[in-house]
Each structure stands twice: as C-alpha cells, then as structure tokens.
C-alpha cells in the first residue's frame, strides 16, 4: 500500500460545479481519514457523481480544492490517478473482451509488465468469484458479475484510495449482499473508501461515517448511528382488527413509544417512533394480549433514507429537484 501513514486520505473544500444554470455542487466539504469508509448519501441528482468525478480527476470544479492521497486534484492529476481506483456509476466493462482481458487491459495501462498483469488479473478474478467466467466475453455476464468485474478493475493496482459510485444500484438482493461482502474484504485490507449510495442501510453496514448531500449541499454528517438517532430510531406500526380497539392501541403505543402515536382511522393503523426496537414491539404485543386484543398486523420499520430526508429537509427523496 502506497499510503500507510495515518492522516487524511481524501479532503475536499468548497467544491462548486455548475452545469449551465444547474448548480450541481454548491460548496461541498468532506474529509476521509486514511483507512476509513465514507458513505456519500443522497437522492438522484444530489451531486454524488459530480463529487466523485471531481475527486477522480474526470471533471474540473468551478471552484474549491481537493486532495486525494496527498496529491492535489488540480495540480497533480496524474499523481491522483496513480493512487486511486474508480468504479463508476455505470460499469466501465468492455463487453467484447473477456473478464480476464478486461483486467489485463487495465493492469497494462497502469504500467504493469505482461507477466505481472496476467498474474494480477487471475488473482482478482478468483477473489471476485469470476474465475469460471474469466474467459467468456463480458457481454454474457449478469449485472452483479459486471459490477464485480468493474470493481476488480478498480483494484488492479492496489490503490490506497478506492472510489465506488453506487456500487449496488440495480443489483438484486443477492447481488447486493455479495457486493457488500466484497467491499468489506476490501476495507479489511486497509484501503480508504469513498462510497456513494442512495440507501442508508448500505451506508449503515459499510461506512464509518456518512455525509448526506442534497441539491449539491451537505445537509448532515456523522456516523450512521448518529444519523438514525437524529430521526428517532425505528417506527412501530400496528393494524387493529376492529375500530373499537384502536384507542387501546394508541394508549399502549403511547407507553412503549418515544413520541405521540399517529392514527389512521380508516385502515385502523397506529404508528409510533420507538428507540428500543423489537423490545418495544414485543412489549406492545404483550400488553395488548393481556387485554385479549388480537392484532391483525404488526411491523417494525427501520428508518429509510426517505425518513432521514424527510426529517432533514422536509422533502422526500423522490421529489423532483427543480432545474
């Protein structure tokens, strides 16, 4: 690893980028301590990819400065390129080349000699469980295999900083979990990782700290737990069998919850925020059971990015950003 001493691996200050009249970035600051994973969280159009492209030298900012692996993005882009591995939002896989050839190509362009490039490519294919498909054209790969191949391409030169732009978007649940495992292995090797995502759950599992951006601005930062606490834990939801039982449910949830329950009379649904998770669920059901009341449906929802957004901005993630 080229960058072993502790310190800051990625630092960005006041990044601004305009596309015509669209302000894609409006003064983004972020910092990643060496060896840590930062989750850059935001809805469509928030500016995640724009940030990534600036940090990986693909795009010049209108103003602001950034340093990656101690190389200035503007003054020494080649230094940055030698230290990073990028897996962009859309897998940059050459469809007509085999998995092996894709990695070999990248290894050679990093300046590795032929035998080393061959060896490194085979190693990575095995590590990403692509060895069976290694000599088939990537055209026939599944979405998950392409993503893994693309990520393998980012790791060819054992970069000290790895940048992953929405590595699991578009993958099925199994593909997503496989990808998470791969990223966790990568983190275990000591790499610094910048990961963008639309899912709090993903940031929660992989990131040491999270920066939430919306419309080109940082609207929150902290550890995943801090963020979730900020919106008050989980949401407990009960659906009662009859309307008569709703007042009782409201009383019980008022006792076990951490806020005022909300009621939807028509669907006989009662909801409340809880801090104690499943404990609160069990407690609520126990108390209702003691009164011989049977609950039709009960659920505990973990906060979603939508909840975070709602609480931070007052608008959901699906809301269109005016351009």
């Amino acid at each position: 690893m080229a960058d072993t001493d502790k310190g800051v691996a990625v630092r960005a200050r006041g990044l601004v980028k305009n596309y015509g009249t669209t302000r894609a970035l409006d003064g983004v600051d972020l910092e990643i301590p060496t060896g840590q994973v930062l989750g850059l969280l935001g809805p469509n159009g928030a500016g995640k990819t724009t940030t990534v492209r600036i940090l990986t030298t693909l795009l010049l900012p209108d103003s602001g400065e950034a340093e990656v692996a101690r190389h200035d993005v503007l003054a020494d882009p080649d230094g940055v390129r030698r230290s990073i591995g990028l897996s962009g939002q859309y897998a940059a896989v050459d469809e007509n080349l085999t998995g092996f050839e894709n990695l070999y190509l990248v290894a050679r362009l990093y300046g590795q000699r032929k035998p080393q490039a061959r060896k490194r490519s085979r190693e990575l294919l095995a590590r990403f469980r692509l060895d069976e498909a290694a000599d088939r054209p990537a055209k026939g790969y599944s979405g998950g295999m392409r993503r893994r191949l693309d990520l393998a391409g980012a790791l060819v030169a054992e970069p000290s900083v790895v940048v992953l732009d929405e590595p699991t978007t578009g993958l099925d649940p199994r593909g997503r979990i496989e990808m998470w495992e791969v990223i966790e292995q990568l983190v275990a090797t000591g790499a610094t990782v910048l990961l963008t995502t639309q899912y709090l759950e993903e940031a929660d599992r992989l990131a040491d700290s999270v920066v939430v951006i919306d419309r080109g601005r940082v609207i929150a930062r902290g550890t995943p737990d801090e963020l979730k606490n900020q919106i008050g834990g989980e949401r407990l939801e009960l659906v009662m069998a009859t309307a008569d039982e709703v007042p009782l449910a409201v009383r019980v949830l008022g006792e076990v919850g951490s806020g005022e329950p909300t009621v939807d009379e028509r669907s006989r649904r009662v909801e409340v925020l809880v801090d104690t998770g499943t404990k609160a669920l069990v407690e609520a059901l126990r108390r209702l059971d003691a009164q011989d009341v049977v609950v039709q449906d009960a659920a505990l929802h973990r906060p979603t990015l939508d909840d975070v957004f709602l609480s931070l901005t007052g608008h959901g993630t699906t809301e269109e950003v005016p351009s």
Binding site: L86, G88, Y90, A92, N96, E101
Partner: protein, 271 residues
Amino acid sequence: MTALAKVLSDSGVITWRNVMNVRRNPEWLLGATLFPIMFVLMFAYVFGGAIGGPGGDSVEYREFLIAGIFAQTVAFNSSYTVIGFANDLQKGIIDRFRSLPMSRFAVIVGRTTADQVLSVVVLVVMSACGLLIGWRIRGSFLDAVLGYLMILLFAFALSWVGAYIGLITPSVEVANSAGLIWMFPLTFISSAFVPQESLPGVLGTIADWNPFTAAVNATRDLFGNVSPAGWPPPSGWPAENAALYAIVSSVAIIAIFAPLATARYRRVASK
C-alpha cells in the same frame, strides 16, 4: 519507463483492445472477408463489362480497378474509429481510461492504428481474390510493398478524421451514418473506378485534386498497373506527382486532425 515508452506501450495496449473488440463483433467476419470479396467481384464483372475500355476488354479494366477497390475498402475502415469512439463515450469506458495514469493521446492513436491492423487483414483477403481474377503486380516487390503502404498511410490519415467525427457525434446511431456518408463522395469522385478525365466539369477538377485520387494513382503506379489502352492519361500536377501529393496530403490531414481530435477528446471526456 520513459514518457515516450509509456505512450507507445499504452498505444499498443489500446490498439490490441480495439482489434479484439472488432474481431469479437460478428459483423467483422463479413466486413473483413465477404464484403471485400464481393466488391472486387462486383466491380470487376458488373462494371467491368460496361466500362471496360473502348475495346470492352474487362481484363485490362480489372487490373486498373484493383488499386481503387483496395484503397476504398481500406478507407471505409476508418468508420470503425468513428463508431468505436461513439460507443466508448456512451458506455463509460472512456471514464475508466481517464481515471488511469495513462497517455490521453494513446486512446486516439490506439484507435487509428487498430483500423490499419484490420486493414492489413482486409488487404490480404482482397489481394488473394484479385489474383484469382487475373490481377497481377507488374512492378518490383519493393514497389508493391510501397504501394500497400501508400494505401495504409492514406487510410491512417482518414482514421484521424474519423476519430474527430466519432468524438463530435452525439450518439452511436448518428456515428453509424456519419462515419460512412463522407466516404462516398471522397472515394467515388476520384480515379478509383473510372478515368478521372471522364468526369465532367467541376467533378473532374475535384477528382483531380482529391487526395484519394492521388493515393490510388500512386498505388496503381507502384503496382505497375496501367489504365486500359486508349483511356486518356490523367494529367495535371497532382496526377504527375501523385505519390508526393498523396503523402503530403496524408501528413497534412494528420497534422490538422490529430490536434483537433485530441483537443476534442479532452473536452468531451471532461464534461
């Protein structure tokens, strides 16, 4: 590794990648074999009968024609560059290249060079086909090699134009036609298939000064192939200095389009 060695090595790697790409494409087999063979046979026998000189001697015409068909087919290969770039831009491969510590220039040289590698294969197929229908190289071996190099140099220059077109076209669909459309006037308003003296008025002047005409005339000459008996010999400065004019214009085209394409590449890629 020195900077120059890295540029050369990167260009080689990118050339390999582009050649593999075309080879894996099922259309390539048709493009490299069937089409060139068909061109040779169609022009030789369909046009040959009609145009074949005052005596109707299609053997003579076939001999005249070969250099023209070679040059045209190889020129058309620059469309691989046009479509290849449009594809790469659309698919995000260019982003991967740009995030690597590699030469920018190599991305384009690797394209234009790959076209010539493919062209060599096409030339071998067409030459074999030409020999079968009675075409012969009448000059020396060295001249013949120079003849082939002449065609390749001119095609290489056209690939740089192709690179620029590929980088300015907004989509792969547009690139598909934009890559080919300019090839038709370029290669037909020339001495490739008919005596340039037979073209009327302005077309004749264009054909005379068309660098493609010069490349074809120079190659024809190096192959030792002549116009059918009784055809008016091409005249004027470009015809009398065909090799010189073809080389100078190839170099000039590269000198203009290499910087244009490189600058354009920097721009599109950093959007």
